[in-house]
């Protein structure tokens, strides 16, 4: 029955315009040549077919590969001819000829088998297709092809890439192609000379891709030998017991190279002994005496002598063996000349990378410094100008941040909410500062330790109140969209816009502070009260009012700093205490009573912290520990900070 049906279908096909199919077209012939493996469709065997298509030079090959990849290639069960087809509906196909792309007709799909390449084969087809896409008229397609090569380069891409370069018109694409060509040459170049030349092109290039291409060339295998071979591909000589090669690893290497007897772990030795306990004895040794490793070694050796267990190396033998061998690295990634070139290129790249990392680190440090500066500037005002220690300063920062959070609950637009939050945070903390000054601080002027204590009490209370109101989990303070992302300068140097914004904010505050203190009546009066309150009072300045305003000003700035810090970190009731010690360090290191000192202090603390983090990147806790220790030591040598006042003014 089926045969008849098939025959009928075949007749139908024959009678329909299918007769137009060019069975002798070169592309069809090529397909027929490889028909068997095409139909078998196995990843292991398909290679020659794909290669033949790709290298045929036939213009239709691209179509074939694309259709094949998209599972649109069908084969006529009778004639064995290949066509591509669109499904009209479940049972009907509209088929086309590969040779000229002409429609052959609409037929039922019963007589055709769909070629279903699996993902592995599709990947191979895709690779093969790249060479066609590289010369595609559409620049977007060419760019896509380059992306594909960058993601997964193959040896075959190199020739295709080279072939496409002379015809490339687009300048940007040409640059990309040439760079990619060199990268591929490094990997797959035929001769050492061309690889070396390509490597030399990349001197000082910061691209991660370059390092990715070069590093495999330097791959090494650790080997051991009685004497160091004279081969040119020998790299470092390793000392057993050093960081690069532990004694155990060295010996394991010897064992794996059959240069030494295996060792046995304590647990295995124990198991072997236990397995051979015989009437309270192991190889004639009383079990009860086996309570030291030495005794167990002897028992094991006795067992080995009896041939019950395999002999193993003793520690002394291990030492001897290891001492009798040289351990060295052998370059296995590339021939020696290429390795040398790659080492040179990598060295120059690493120099440049180090430089850029230093720049990046400096930017990080700068932004950290601006955060500390923001956090400390309010403190510097109250501590430096008024001589008042405000331990609740950190809690004012927290209040500012929570103000921002609450504002965002009411104003969903992030840009607008930040613009509202900043002045509002200033007002809230200004109010809190003035209240605190009126109720507590002014009774305690010139009693610094008691001020410290009282503000501690306030700090404890404020922190707990915030916890009671907002809970213990962190609250978000979301930055406006235009502050998302980073300013990327190259693969290594980048800085997020939020950090830039905080830096700018810090500069603004410095300017504001300098303006207020040096150019306004308020600043003049503040300085007067600072230097001599009684004299200022007799000149008609109300020191009470000035102190109140100064304290409010300092607290208000803490509030704004809180908004900025909230954008950068999470808002919690404990965020204040995270910054208070660093803020005090900043003020103390900088020198009390001088805004430039605070700036220098913040810079120093910021750079110091980043520097220590860089030395020990895995552990920020340790970084903070070391930074504090450093500051404690620093204060030994400059007890009055970087910028110290001298003479009678300093004793006030």
């Amino acid at each position: 029955m089926l045969r008849i049906a098939a025959f009928l279908v075949a007749c139908l096909t024959w009678m329909t315009p299918a007769s137009a199919q060019q069975a002798d077209a070169p592309i069809q012939q090529l397909l027929q040549t490889h028909s068997e493996i095409l139909l078998k469709s196995s990843r292991r065997t398909i290679g020659p077919a794909v290669d033949a298509l790709a290298n045929s030079g036939l213009p239709e090959a691209q179509t074939v590969l694309e259709r094949w990849q998209n599972k649109e290639m069908w084969v006529d069960e009778d004639s064995g001819l290949f066509v591509y087809a669109e499904e009209v509906d479940r049972d009907t196909l509209r088929i086309f000829d590969f040779a000229d792309g002409s429609e052959i007709g609409v037929v039922p799909d019963d007589g055709f088998d769909q070629l279903k390449p699996n993902s592995g084969i599709r990947g191979m087809i895709g690779t093969a297709l790249v060479q066609f896409q590289l010369s595609d008229p559409d620049p977007a397609n060419r760019a896509t092809a380059l992306d594909a090569i960058e993601r997964g380069a193959e040896e075959s891409h190199l020739a295709a890439l080279r072939a496409s370069i002379p015809t490339e018109q687009d300048e940007a694409l040409l640059q990309r192609k040439m760079r990619l060509e060199r990268l591929l040459t490094i990997r797959y170049g035929q001769t050492d000379a061309e690889r070396i030349e390509a490597i030399q092109h990349f001197d000082g290039d910061l691209g991660v891709d370059v390092r990715a291409a070069l590093n495999p060339l330097l791959a090494v295998r650790v080997e051991a030998a009685e004497a160091l071979p004279e081969d040119p591909d020998i790299g470092r000589v390793l000392q057993p017991g050093s960081e690069a090669l532990s004694r155990d690893d060295a010996y394991a290497l010897l064992v794996s190279a059959d240069l030494a007897q295996p060792r046995i772990s304590r647990a295995d030795k124990r198991a072997a002994l236990v397995a051979n306990i015989d009437g309270g004895q192991v190889a004639g040794v009383q079990v009860a005496t086996l309570d030291t490793e030495a005794a167990r070694d002897m028992a094991y050796a006795a067992l080995a002598e009896q041939g019950v267990v395999e002999a193993v190396a003793t520690e002394a033998e291990v030492d001897e063996r290891v001492a009798n061998h040289v351990f060295f690295e052998r370059f296995i990634g590339a021939p020696p000349e290429v390795v040398v070139a790659a080492q040179l290129a990598l060295a120059s790249i690493e120099n440049k990378v180090a430089l850029n990392q230093a720049v990046d680190l400096s930017l990080d440090a700068l932004s950290l410094a601006s955060i500390y500066f923001l956090a400390a500037i309010g403190l510097a005002i109250t501590f430096g100008v008024m001589g008042v220690i405000n331990m609740a300063h950190g809690e004012f920062i927290m209040m500012g941040a929570y103000t921002g959070y609450v504002v965002q609950l009411f104003i969903p637009d992030y840009t607008l909410s930040i613009l509202v939050a900043i002045p509002l945070a200033f007002m809230v903390t200004f109010g809190a500062g003035v209240t605190m000054e009126r109720l507590v601080i002014r009774w305690l002027y010139h009693r610094p330790l008691e001020t410290l204590l009282a503000t501690f009490g306030i700090s404890i209370a404020l922190q707990q109140i915030a916890k009671n109101i907002f809970g213990t989990q962190a609250r978000p303070l979301t930055a406006p969209g235009w502050l998302d992302g980073s300013l990327v300068i190259n693969d290594i140097v980048s800085i997020s816009y939020i950090r830039i914004a905080i830096f700018v904010l810090a500069l603004l505050f410095l300017a504001l502070f300098l303006f207020v203190m040096n150019r306004t009546r308020l600043g003049l009066e503040v300085r007067a009260v600072t230097q001599n309150p009684r004299m200022a009072a007799s000149m008609g300045i109300n020191p009470d009012k000035i102190n109140m305003l100064t304290f409010g000003f300092g607290s208000g700035i803490a509030g704004i700093a809180g908004v900025a810090i909230g954008l950068y970190a999470k808002v919690t009731s404990e965020m204040g205490s995270d910054y208070i010690v660093q803020s005090f360090m900043t003020v103390v290191v900088g020198g009390v009573g001088n805004i430039w000192g605070t700036l220098l202090g913040a810079t120093m603390v910021g750079f110091l912290q980043k520097g220590i983090e860089w030395l020990n990147p895995s552990n920020t806790l340790a970084a903070q520990t070391y930074m504090i220790l450093f500051i404690i030591l620093f204060i030994q040598f400059r007890p009055k900070g970087i910028i110290a006042l001298k003479g009678r003014a300093a004793e006030a």
Binding site: V287, E293, P448, G457, I460, N468, V581, L621, I635, Q636
Partner: protein, 418 residues
Amino acid sequence: MSDVALGSARRPFALRFPSVLVFLAILSIFTVVVTVLSEGFGVGVISTSFVKTLGKTLCLCLVALAMDLVWGYCGILSLGHMAFFGLGGYAIGMWLMYARTEIIVLESLAAAELPPTPEEVSDGIATQIFGVVGASEFPPIWAFAHSLPLQLAAVVVVPGLLALVFGWLAFRSRVTGVYLSILTQAMTLALSLHLFQNDSGLRGNNGLSGLQNLPGLSDVPQSIVSMWFFWASALALGLGYILCAWVVSGKFGSVIRAIRDDEARVRFLGYPVEAFKLVIFTLTAVIAGIAGALYYPQAGIVNPAEIAPIASIYLAVWVAIGGRGRLYGAVIGAAFVSLLSTWFTGGQAPDINLGFYTIQWVDWWIVILGLSFVAVTLFAPKGIGGLVDVFIDRKSPDRHGADLGPDQGALREQEAEK
């Protein structure tokens, strides 16, 4: 003329300072009463957990004494004494943990076919103790953990040495006043951050736990063990009180109080102020370490959070509320505030329903504590101990702002210094 008064300095110590006798009498009576009412040795009115609370309170009183000595008498507002306290706890905790784990490991290995080797025992203990931080080897600082005498020495030596080094650095560069407070706070912060790290060798933020179980005494019920520690704490407090009273009573006390009031003037009298400060700072650190070593076995666990600066701030709060510059004030403050704190945060205090809001004391107690601290600073600088003055009608001059004299007008002393 004033022979009687002059001779007073040579009368027996206890007679000159009746408050010491009164304190010791109260402490003894308290100890006896608690013993009689305890579960372990008496009628069982006081639960074992409350005995532990009382024992811990006695240790807190002892560290408050140290704080009073260094702050109330010598004027150094140290925010590091709870760190010394915690170090004492860590030092004894290392032995407790090591010794107990050793017993467990030996028991489990005893069942094995072969007798254990020292290496196996050591590995077993290390895996047990450091498994939580993903390590299985002993860090170098555990080198003495096997030995009780050495770890007991560490209780004294480690805080003492840290205080000595830190104090020497700080005092010799003439860091004083709030600067010194902030510096001690920084030291405390650095120490707690260090201990928070897993590779500090002290189990990171897990701290040392299971300290309430005495090695080899697992058969003794906690009701008995808690009383032992209670007695030890009471004894330590009593001895500590006598020591502190002796230190502050003589010329040494005179000098440190003088340092508190006018450091520069003491220097011009020829006293090496820095050395005196260093002695007091180190001595009190040692007392704090001993107090901690008695406290943490009763608490059962010591972790880096206990060392955080806030703990030292609370210590200052207790002493201030109790009344600084008098030893019994520190004891009263520590006992009063910490017991009240336990009561409030333990959930025993009834919530107050205001209709629109329910005041839960667990949440609001800290707020009240903070604000009452401000109030004490502002309105009652003498603290609770000041009440004693009211009873015995003792007046002392207000040191702050005394008149300078006729030729200086109406200036007050503090202002004239500026």
